[in-house]
Assembly symmetry: C2
Homo-oligomer: 207 residues x 2
Amino acid sequence: MDHAEKSKPSALKKSNYHHGDLRAGLIEATRQLVEEKGPDGFSVSDACRLAGVSTAAPYKHFKDKSEMITAMVMEGMTRHRDNMVAALGDVPPATPARIKALGREYVEFALKEPGVFRLKFGGFTDRLDDPKLQEAGEGTFTIVLHEVAACIGESEITPDVRRRGFMLWSFVHGLSFLLADPKLTSMGGEFDLEDILDDIAVRMLAP
Amino acid sequence: MDHAEKSKPSALKKSNYHHGDLRAGLIEATRQLVEEKGPDGFSVSDACRLAGVSTAAPYKHFKDKSEMITAMVMEGMTRHRDNMVAALGDVPPATPARIKALGREYVEFALKEPGVFRLKFGGFTDRLDDPKLQEAGEGTFTIVLHEVAACIGESEITPDVRRRGFMLWSFVHGLSFLLADPKLTSMGGEFDLEDILDDIAVRMLAP
DNA sequence: CTTATATGTTAGAAGCTCTCACTTTGACAA
DNA sequence: TTGTCAAAGTGAGAGCTTCTAACATATAAG
């Protein structure tokens, strides 16, 4: 492991004393390891080994382990939100199909990155109390609320809209957890995700 | 901290070299600490201090830290299920009120013991792969399925029953997570848990 | 009463987080 | 060009942790 990688500086690296962009490197290593071993199996030391730096290096970029995980989760949330927005794509406005698209993307993220997803909400939430996380979460929820409003013909976010949005979120969130856990999935029996999403959208948008 | 507590042996303790029922003591200590500091903040050492034994003592009862947590979670699941069964109490059979009662109890447990609840499903699930946990979970789910079947007039657990049950579970599960997280609760705005449970029961039991 | 077993203890190895003092490097001013 | 400073690494090590091994003690069964 010598040269030729990373690219923040001008062109190519002369030495590897300085990493280039260790912050990003550590975040990526953290993500990989959390996916691989779960949040409890993760250690800063492991991340250092993976990134090829000494165990003291991270502390130039993060206050502590918790902040390192928070940064990784933050990055995951951004990705999650971007995916959801992208999923709306050219789905016709004010249709349940948009709600469905958001839900599908939500679940899909949970399936693709279960470790990160669980960390976002599940295991360590108490500790991850960065207000930025909350902001980011609220931003995403607001997207959902606007879609719900459009679907039921409201021009603004009324209490009814908020309530339905929250219920939809609850459902999709729970569904994601159950599906992301191999031991729980089986209990649902055989079913099709699309059908389920259709079903809940219809039921929750009904008067 | 000398005498006069624990009671597995005949009457009262002479020495405290032997604890009496350390297994149960450690499980309780684990529960307390997980609630207090979160699953990540928990350490076996802490539990030992709380239980008043040496740090090597737990290993006579549990293979490792993970097994100790698993045991605690297992105990929590039993309690959770018992609560749910008790909540059914004398609610008239084959009514949505029974579904509601189960849902309320589910959420209530999550609010009362958020640490344990999250651990059951959230943070460490990969690691907590004791088949007994799965069994216990399935048992509880079966209770729900029977209630759903009764409500929609089926005499057995058809695919439709299973599907609705799974959706109800998803919803209540997600709701529990959102409500158990102080940062997320606010997003739902002002609302009444009873109303929400009524609402979802009606919507999910509709043809 | 004796003795086996279950359940404690102490000591310690290995590994983790995080700090401190030190080194290297790139950038920028003179 | 060159000198110097701040940013970003490093190694060593303190003080935790988990878990093992060898030893100690109490209880229960004979």
